[in-house]
């Protein structure tokens, strides 16, 4: 936190000095345009290349966005200092009362990403959060450090529905952990099934429900579990190109967040449902529809999918043209996933 505050202060100081010297202030932001996003094969993720854009008030067209950028940094500083958090949507509305109204939320989201790139911190560190919430369940004890909950200690098995990964939880300290791995689960039905089947005890796992594409907060939390507690991360999704991509974004990050470091988990592992599983476990399947084919071909052209493992998976999809949901495992009974499928996958 100190580090982030320091960076924000330096930014303000730089602009003040420019103004004092009678200059029209400018800032240089790492460019987030497609041409500047490159795939770093060594690190297995997208990163920003060297290009920077100059946002300068000497260009009257930049004036409004420049003001919005500084305002955004200023809001972040206040949020951090006051121990509060906000959402992307909140900020879009708040801007109006400061006279820096955004055209639409897309514009304000883009400015937030600019501030992230400018300071080299994630928006979560700036106390700005998206609306989507993932949930977590497992033998992990945390201590909140948000205002009013400083002493609150919570074991994440407290609720059978799991605990939402919100701003407070994302910033909490890890107190104690009985788990040895993290399983990220795509669908809510499977998440509940795993809790009911006591998968967290059986596999000593922390379960995270991503609800489709994992929110950044969930990715950031899993990243912390991996980094701070050394827990390996497994990803369990539907067996289709969309599920594969949920896993890929957790592993390699997205192009959109190429400027943020604390989101990618390069050694996370996609355990299923793999295209080969459909045959191996004789799961009920559906044929690919047009959208699935298009998605598959997009992925095949994606630089993140060029490792032998991923190339094989996509090739298998292409050969078979079959997909299976996580729930397809229920054809062999509700406990099949914890009795047979996962034990074989988590070896």
């Amino acid at each position: 936190m100190k580090d982030v505050l320091h960076k924000l202060t330096l930014l303000g100081e730089a602009i003040c000095v420019q103004l004092e010297n009678g200059c029209l202030p400018f800032i240089e932001i790492p460019s987030r345009t497609t041409s500047n996003i490159v795939y770093d094969e060594m690190r297995g993720r997208f990163v920003l290349s060297g290009a920077r854009i100059k946002r300068t008030t000497s260009n009257v067209k930049h004036l409004r966005v420049f003001t919005q950028t500084v305002w955004m940094a200023y809001m972040a500083k206040r949020l951090i200092e006051e121990g509060k958090s906000t959402t992307l949507r909140d900020l879009y509305y708040m801007a109006e009362s400061y006279g820096v109204k955004f055209k639409d939320q897309q514009e304000s989201d883009s400015i937030i990403a600019d501030v992230e790139a400018l300071l080299g911190v994630s928006r979560e560190q700036l106390r700005i959060f998206p609306e989507e919430r993932a949930t977590i369940y497992g033998d992990l004890t945390i201590r909140y450090n948000v205002h009013g909950y400083e002493r609150t200690i919570l074991n994440l098995t407290a609720s059978p529905d799991g605990v939402a990964i919100g701003p407070a939880l994302a910033a909490a300290d890890f107190q104690d952990c009985g788990a040895e791995k993290v399983i990220m689960v795509e669908s809510g039905g499977m998440f509940t099934r795993l809790i009911e089947e006591k998968a967290h005890e059986k596999f000593k796992a922390v379960l995270i429900h991503t609800a489709g594409q994992a929110p950044r907060l969930a990715r950031h939390f899993a990243y912390r579990l991996k980094r701070e507690l050394g827990l390996p991360v497994y990803i369990f999704t539907d067996g289709d190109p969309w599920g594969a991509h949920i896993a890929m974004v957790i592993i390699s990050g997205s192009a959109n967040a190429a400027h943020v470091d604390s989101l990618v988990i390069p050694d996370a592992k996609w355990i299923g449902i793999l295209p080969t599983d459909i045959e191996d476990y004789r799961l009920p399947f559906e044929k690919f529809n047009e959208k699935d084919w298009k998605r598959l071909h997009d992925l095949m052209a994606d630089p993140r999918y060029q490792s032998p493992f991923w190339r094989n998976q996509l090739k298998k999809f292409e050969e078979e043209g079959k997909k299976s949901e996580q729930q397809a495992l229920s054809i062999y009974g509700l406990s099949y996933v914890t009795e047979k499928y996962l034990p074989e996958k988590l070896i």
């Binding site: 924000l8 202060t9 930014l11 303000g12 100081e13 602009i15 003040c16 103004l19 004092e20 009678g22 200059c23 029209l24 202030p25 008030t57 000497s58 009257v60 004036l63 409004r64 420049f66 003001t67 500084v70 305002w71 940094a73 200023y74 500083k77 206040r78 400061y98 006279g99 820096v100």
Partner: protein, 284 residues
């Protein structure tokens, strides 16, 4: 109206501009004189020297009496006159309206935002001298169309049959986009053609034919007017643009200073009044 237009000067016809009927009349007036005398006394821009050269090149004897010409001779003489290159006709006989008078009149009637008048130097078609005057008034009161045309011939307004008029032809072909950043609005175009002979298309004297010389002069005058109009409009746009620029800085720069001050954790905001002043003066 303070300055009256200059009085026109009476002149003789120009040899290029006479037809057979007129030539016969002129010859009759100089009956019994030599052709040389006839030529030198009946036409403008023709003296004895020019007359002699012309008659010799046309195969007439300078000393031949005018009364001996047959009617074929008269026609031949006319054709020869048309072929021969005499000095251009004298335009002092013409009576243009004048730029000031035209401008004042338009201002009074239409109250335009901007008006400009262009008088072309005298020119000639078929031996007839003429002067074209064009005025363009932009942002007129009481004009709804984008462009409307008002025509005058020798100071007489032409009311009917505007669509086959030479001025309308020029206007139709005119590309406003080359001159104006925007579509013309409430614009009036005035054309005045004064000549010793206006080439009316019909006996009703309502619309003017389009000899290429006249069409060209109208076009050139219109272009000149529109160049001036363009300067006016872009100048106005620039002024507005500068105003907008300054307002943007006045709005945003204090905010930038305020947010940056709070970011830096300073107590006092940097003074930006000087920077704003410099922007107003256009230094930045």
């Amino acid at each position: 109206m303070e300055n009256l237009p200059k009085m026109p000067v009476e002149t003789l016809p120009h040899p290029h501009g006479v037809d057979a009927e007129m030539l016969r009349r002129l010859l009759k007036r100089r009956e019994g004189k030599s052709l040389l005398y006839f030529m030198a006394k009946s036409f403008q821009r023709v003296g004895y020297a020019t007359a002699k050269k012309f008659l010799e090149s046309a195969g007439f004897s300078p000393h031949q009496p005018t009364s001996t010409l047959t009617s074929d001779d008269v026609l031949e003489l006319m054709e020869a006159m048309k072929r021969y290159s005499f000095p251009p006709p004298d335009a002092r006989c013409l009576s243009p309206i004048g730029e000031d008078v035209l401008r004042d009149a338009i201002m009074k009637v239409f109250e335009p935002e901007f008006v400009t008048v262009c008088q072309r130097p005298p020119s000639v078609y078929l031996g007839h001298p003429f002067i074209v005057e064009v005025a363009v008034a932009y942002g007129c009161k009481g004009i709804d169309e984008e462009v409307s045309l008002y025509r005058f011939a020798n100071r007489i307004p032409l009311i009917y049959d505007a669509h086959s008029d030479v001025s309308m032809n020029v206007l139709k072909k005119f590309n406003w986009g080359n001159y104006l950043p925007v579509r013309p609005q409430a614009t009036a175009v005035f054309t005045h053609i004064c000549s010793t002979k206006i080439p009316f298309k019909t006996a009703g004297k309502e619309c003017i034919a389009d000899p290429p010389e006249i069409e060209r002069e109208i076009e050139l005058a219109l272009k000149e007017c529109c160049r001036r109009l363009k300067t006016h409009i872009t100048g106005r746009v620039n002024m507005e643009e500068r105003g907008r620029r300054f307002n943007a800085y006045k709005k945003y720069l204090p905010k930038i200073a305020q947010f940056a001050t709070e970011l830096a954790g300073r107590r006092d905001a940097p003074n930006i009044s000087l920077t704003l002043e410099r922007i107003l003066e256009g230094l930045d």
